[in-house]
Symmetry: C2
Subunit: 192 residues, 2 copies
């Protein structure tokens, strides 16, 4: 289990830091963050209970690292969706992509947003969404839009998408067999 890889990381365990994060992601995906403990992850990685603290100042710092991984993964998903989408429906496609991301990993949503409040302006998924929305909104409206108007519309759309992911999916409100179509319809009922 250890001797196979002759990789970059050279120390005792090899790459404890990354393995802990991987195990953390896996655990949260399966059981949620509530019952996650550093000791369980340490044991699962075959090290002592104090070992993780060589890599993370405390549990909170560790969870920050896990959070960053998920955020990055979400951002990548959105970017891929963007590249596949036509200009006309790109905002709806991004919204669907966002909702579906959390539909496929419901416990990620809880974990991501139950922690310390996220600063929206430095939250990469929103930053990306904002850029796309700014272009799309200008194209949709003939008249010029002020920066402030664009920002407000963007926040509203994002809030809707975010709220949908929260309420609509996690509680069986939406017909999950037609997820794709359903979400499109829901988002279409907003006129931007």
């Amino acid at each position: 289990m250890c001797a196979k890889k002759t990789e970059v990381k050279p120390y005792h365990h090899g790459n404890l830091k990354e393995e802990l994060i991987d195990k953390g992601l896996e655990y949260i995906d399966k059981y949620g963050v509530e019952s996650l403990s550093m000791r369980k992850l340490a044991e699962a990685s075959g090290v002592s209970s104090a070992a993780p603290y060589a890599h993370f100042k405390n549990k909170d710092a560790f969870l920050d690292a896990v959070q960053d991984h998920i955020t990055e993964s979400l951002t990548e998903t959105l970017k891929k969706t963007y590249e596949k989408s036509g200009e006309r429906e790109v905002l709806i496609e991004l919204g669907k992509s966002y909702v579906i991301f959390f539909y496929e990993n419901p416990l990620y949503y809880q974990f991501l947003f139950a922690r310390r409040s996220i600063d929206i302006d430095t939250f990469p998924p929103f930053q990306f969404y904002s850029e796309v929305a700014a272009v799309a909104l200008k194209n949709m409206h003939n008249k010029r839009l002020t920066k402030e108007t664009i920002r407000k519309k963007t926040i509203t759309m994002w809030a809707t998408v975010h709220g949908l992911a929260r309420f609509a999916l996690m509680d069986g409100v939406i017909d999950t067999d037609n997820l794709d179509k359903e979400i499109g319809q829901l988002l279409c009922s907003i006129e931007v």
Copy 2:
């Protein structure tokens, strides 16, 4: 501190159950739920660490009770807002009321929605909002709306309001001095 009241509740402490809930609300409002412990509340109430378990099966059950209190308080706030609102802007007023409720108690939001996923259809604030929205939407649209359409529009509006409370308020996105006006504008950018 104990001998003053000659109230209804007759047992040892008097009314430990309610005091614990009150102390819990107070604690969450001040510090958030993360560092809340049953032992602290017990000590703050002047009883032993095991006493709370005579009233609550476990910590989770206790937090459920606290959650119910907050939910009830939110529902009441919405109902009061409804009664003061004209028919035309009632949906926007309810939205503002929702956002402002959590603006005034930011940690309640985290607590309320970071726990086990809420079943939207039995969540009293949404139930009330749904009833109002159904009437309002029918009045706004000349043409008849199907039940399904109403439900979708309602969910979308609710999702927006909920998302606004999350993103817009907690991260200083909105000008908090003009909170009332700002939220109205934001919600107006949705066409229902």
